[in-house]
Symmetry: C2
Subunit: 356 residues, 2 copies
Amino acid sequence: MTTLKNDRFLRALMREPVDVTPVWMMRQAGRYLPEYRATRADAGDFLSLCKNADFACEVTLQPLRRYELDAAILFSDILTVPDAMGLGLYFETGEGPKFERPVRTESDVAELRVPDMNDDLGYVMNAVSTIRNALNGDVPLIGFSGSPWTLATYMIEGGSSKDFRHIKAMMYKTPELLHQVLSVLADSVTQYLNAQIAAGAQAVQIFDTWGGALSGPCYDAFSLQYMQRIVQGLTKEAEGRRVPAIMFTKNGGQWLERMAATGADALGLDWTTEIGHARARVGDKVALQGNMDPSVLYADASQIEAEVGRILADFGANDGHVFNLGHGIHQFVDPESAKIFVDAVHEQSAQYHAHR
Amino acid sequence: MTTLKNDRFLRALMREPVDVTPVWMMRQAGRYLPEYRATRADAGDFLSLCKNADFACEVTLQPLRRYELDAAILFSDILTVPDAMGLGLYFETGEGPKFERPVRTESDVAELRVPDMNDDLGYVMNAVSTIRNALNGDVPLIGFSGSPWTLATYMIEGGSSKDFRHIKAMMYKTPELLHQVLSVLADSVTQYLNAQIAAGAQAVQIFDTWGGALSGPCYDAFSLQYMQRIVQGLTKEAEGRRVPAIMFTKNGGQWLERMAATGADALGLDWTTEIGHARARVGDKVALQGNMDPSVLYADASQIEAEVGRILADFGANDGHVFNLGHGIHQFVDPESAKIFVDAVHEQSAQYHAHR
C-alpha cells in the first residue's frame, strides 16, 4: 500500500494534533454535482451505479477533483445489506427505496441470514479496492454501513417512513422478535464493515439515521446496544494503523454521553447540537465530527464563512474535530458553495492548531 | 361562567397538588375515532369541519365521551392564521396542507398583515365559545396556535417539507426578511391566542412542530424569541384564574433550559427526552407535559400500562406533570388502547400524589 499523503482526517479522529481541521461532506458524491448526474445517467439507475466498481469509483473521486477534501467515502447505498439478504430492494421514482418482501412475521424473521460478504456483497468490496487504488494515497477512504436499527426500519416498514408504525408496533408488542432481526443485522454489519476494512477502508462510519425517532430507553436497547456490539467486533488496526469508527445518530444529541461510552472513536453530530456543548459533555473520550446545517450552503460566501467560523470557535483550540455538515449535502446546492465551505474550514482553522 | 368540576389539568400546569396526574392526548379528536371520521364525512372536507362551530364542537367532545380525559382541546387547524392572511390554504389528498401563494419575495413579505380576529378568524372564536358552553364546566378547554417559525415553514415552503429549503435559504441569506415574517406572525399569534382566551379558552398551547429542525443559535433567534414575545403578550388571567401557557417544541429536548426561561408555565416534551432528566434540568420553573411515544398504543394492554408506569416513576412524587403523548395520537390506533392509556395514568399515578 502507498503511504498516505494526507492523514489529517485519521489523526483528528484519534484526537492527535493536526495543522488545520480536516473536512469532508456527507453525501459529497451526489446529485448537486453535474458530473455525478452525468455518470448516473450513464449507469442507467442508482443501483447499477452502486454495483459497478468503475462507476462507483468515478463518482467517489468526483468531489475530490473539485475540492480539497481530507477524506473520500465509498459510494454505495445504505441498504446493500438487506438487499443482500434477499428482500428485493428497488427504487420507485420520487418515492425512495422500497423492499418487495418486508419483514413482518415470525417466519419472515426466522428466514433472515447474515449474507455472504464475497458472494452477495463482493461488488462493494470490489468498489472499495478499486477506489483505494485510484486514490493512490491522496486521502483516506471511509467505509460505511447503516446501523441495525436504521436498516431494520426500512426492512420492516418496506421503505421510508414518517411514523415507523410497523417497526414500533413490533418493538412494543413483540420486542424479542425485533431483537432477533437486530441481532442478525449486527452480525451482518460487523462482517460487512470488517470486509470493507480488509478491502482497504481506513475508517468506518455507522449511519444511524433513524435512532433519533426512539425514546431514550428504546434507543439504548434497540439501537445503541447493537452499534456497540458492532464497534466491539470491528477490526481495530489495518496496515499498521488504527481504523477509527465513527458513530452518527441523527437527532441523537441527547444521548452523546452514552454513545461516547461504546468504544467508538468519534461521534457524528447533526446541527441541532452545539459542538462546544457536545465537547464539554464527552470530554476527551471521543473525537467529534460535524456539524454545520447543510442549508447554510444556500447562503452567500460571507455567510458560509461566518458560520464555519462560529462552529470552529465553538469547538475551540483543541484536538479531535473533523469538520462536516450535520447531514448530507442537499441536491440543490451550488457546487461553488461547497468549495467556499471546504476552503473556509482550512483557512480559518489554522489559528486553532498553531503553537500547540 | 359555570364552576370547573375538574381542574386537575390547570392545577398541574401551575405545579399545584392534585389527586391523580391529569391526562389528555394531542390530536385526541382525530381520525383514529370512527365517530370523528363520520362527522368529517358529514362536513365534507377538513376545512369545513374546522370552520363550522357545531361540527368543531362535536369532534372536540367525542373523545371526552369515551375517555376520562382531564382537558378538551379546541378542534381547529394549525394553519388558520396564514389562511386568514390570504395565502390560500388548501388540502390535496394524501399531500397535506398547501398554500396557493407561498411567501418568497420581499414584496410577498411586505404584503403580510395581522389578520382581523373578528372578521377573518371569528369562526375560531365561535368554535371556542360553542365548545366552552357545551363542556358545561366538566374539564378546561385548551386553545392553541402554531408557533411563528412553524407557521412560517408552511407559508414559505408552500406546504409540508422535509428539508425546509426555502425558509432556511431565506434564514441564512436574508435573515432580516424572515424576521419581518416572524414578527407579523408573533403579533398575529398573540392576538389570536388572546382572542381565544377572551372567547373562553382556559389554557393555551403553542405548537412548535418544526423548531427542532434548527441549530441552537437559529432556534433561539428564529423560533424561541418569537414564542417568548407571544408568551409575554398573553392575557395572564381570565375568570379570576391564571391562564397557563404551554410551549411545545418537537425535537426541542436539547433546549429545555432556554424554553423554561421564557415565562411559559409548562413545556411539552416529545418522547425522545426522558422526563426525569427534563425535570432535573428545569427544576421548579415550569410544569412538564408528556411524554409517551404514541406508538406504544400499538402494544397490548399490559405493555401500555408498563410504559405509563415507567414514565410516572421517572417523573416521581412531585407536582407539575400533565400526562400526554409525545406527539399526536396515530390514526391507526385502536380506540380501546387509548382508554387503557388514560385509565392507566389515573390508576397508577395516585400513589405519587398521596400523603403529601
